[in-house]
Point group: C2
Chain length 273, copies 2
């Protein structure tokens, strides 16, 4: 089984791949989220693993937009605890470090570290694990990376410090995607993600939420994204507990169809602990 | 009147400053949103102008978080049409350009330009106008910047192309902030921004929206932001039309207070066209 994910080997997405599918998989790193979607769509991979939301930084809007553009099946979701570590090429000591490379979101989640060490400057890089890879190739003597521990083993870097993140309640939620429903089990799906737009009228969103609330369906997330081409109008992404084969949910979705301009069920999926 | 804003002279925020306050103001550029808030709070400036939302990229979450942490008065909102231009130091011709510097959001809004010119690479920089300033100082022969037209006049750069943005329906919404209510006029305030958290129970958000909908109060925006420390729980930011001096709105806010764990009125303000 070949699995596409965004980032370099050792990224947090790789940990999510193993959590979903075990160790016996072929990992296919991609430069961008879009490339991961495209390769999965073309059949160059069997599964895709994409980060959808971080409990501190919020949703990965790009991936929600890509889900809407590409017709994929969501098989499962899981969450990975984000632990940021300080990695260096062998030989670099803490006293020498003046620059720390990482993804902007990771740097932003380790502010206390940079406050405690004012001589060390954060430097934005395209990827967490990718910054370890770059340091191991270029071997600067004054630089470290903030990255997952797994990147240490993969590139031969040393872990100098663990748990640099300011807030330990730091989790990222991933989706396991496939091109077809093969392998998808209706009875395991417990959560459903939908997206819709409403007519631009007072009370329109309220009516949509009433459809769920009046049927005691538990809405667990709602988020608005800008609707391109229509300033200050929004797409609503909603997650609720339930599967479309339940009569309540089926009725709610039919009812939502009456109230929305556009409605798409992105998927119903199992939750992997 | 001294006005703080984030970015370099010539930034889109500067255009918003003039739209709110006319030409006769003293501009005080700040390196970060946080610095702008801090300087305004300390009394080092009379007004602050901060971008809150872009019609394509979505909300500027950092500024909503800062509004919640600092107690500021929102006097007004306005919107600025975002036009991206290609600027170069005098002497640089289009044929020579291989790199274009700008803020990541601006680069991302000019994808068609980079597709049409595959020899030109986008390079991320901390600010749109700041990249013009940097080019005028360093004078590389192969580089341009994507920035507001105003940055050309300020730094002496030449505008080679106008309107590079993919989507012309590109607006940014700004708030005009002050430390005190002096200058705030209740009768002009037509829009109110609030933020709240709900108990983690099914239907909690639905009830909050009912408070507005059942009083025919027009909700114009709702957005969820991650609640730090509580993974997968959210702060809800809501904008509605109305002012707290209206009885309907006053009642709705009192009613919301009964249903929410935390409720804050960020401000009621006028809308400057």
């Amino acid at each position: 089984m070949r699995v596409v994910f965004q980032g370099e080997r050792g990224a947090f997405s790789e940990e999510a791949c193993h959590k979903f599918l075990g160790k016996n998989i072929e990992l296919a790193p991609c430069a961008s989220f879009e490339e991961a979607f495209r390769r999965l769509e073309r059949g160059e991979a069997d599964r895709g693993v994409l980060p959808m939301e971080n409990s501190l930084a919020g949703s990965v809007h790009d991936n929600f937009d890509l889900l809407l553009r590409h017709h994929m099946v969501i098989l499962a979701e899981t969450q990975v605890r984000i632990v940021h570590n300080l990695l260096v090429p062998p030989g670099v000591t803490f006293a020498k470090i003046r620059r720390v490379f990482s993804h902007p979101v990771a740097l932003n989640q380790c502010r206390a570290f940079f406050r405690r060490h004012p001589k060390i400057a954060p430097v934005q890089f395209y990827d967490t694990a990718g910054s370890v890879k770059m340091l191991m190739e270029q071997r600067p003597e004054d630089a470290a990376a903030i990255a997952p521990a797994a990147a240490g083993g993969i590139y031969g870097a040393k872990i100098l410090m663990r748990g640099l993140e300011d807030d330990k309640a730091n989790f990222t939620r991933f989706f396991l995607l496939a091109r077809t429903r093969r392998g998808w089990k209706a009875e395991r799906a417990v959560k459903t993600s939908i997206v819709f737009t409403t007519p631009n009228k007072p009370g329109a969103l309220f009516k949509c939420l009433a459809v769920l609330a009046l049927r005691d369906i538990n809405l667990v997330k709602i988020e608005s994204h800008p609707l391109h081409g229509k300033p200050w109008e929004y797409l609503f992404y909603v997650d609720f507990m339930g599967r479309p084969t339940d009569e309540r949910c089926r009725n709610a979705l039919r009812h939502l169809g009456e109230l929305t301009d556009m409605l798409r069920v992105l998927g119903s999926y199992e939750v992997v602990k």
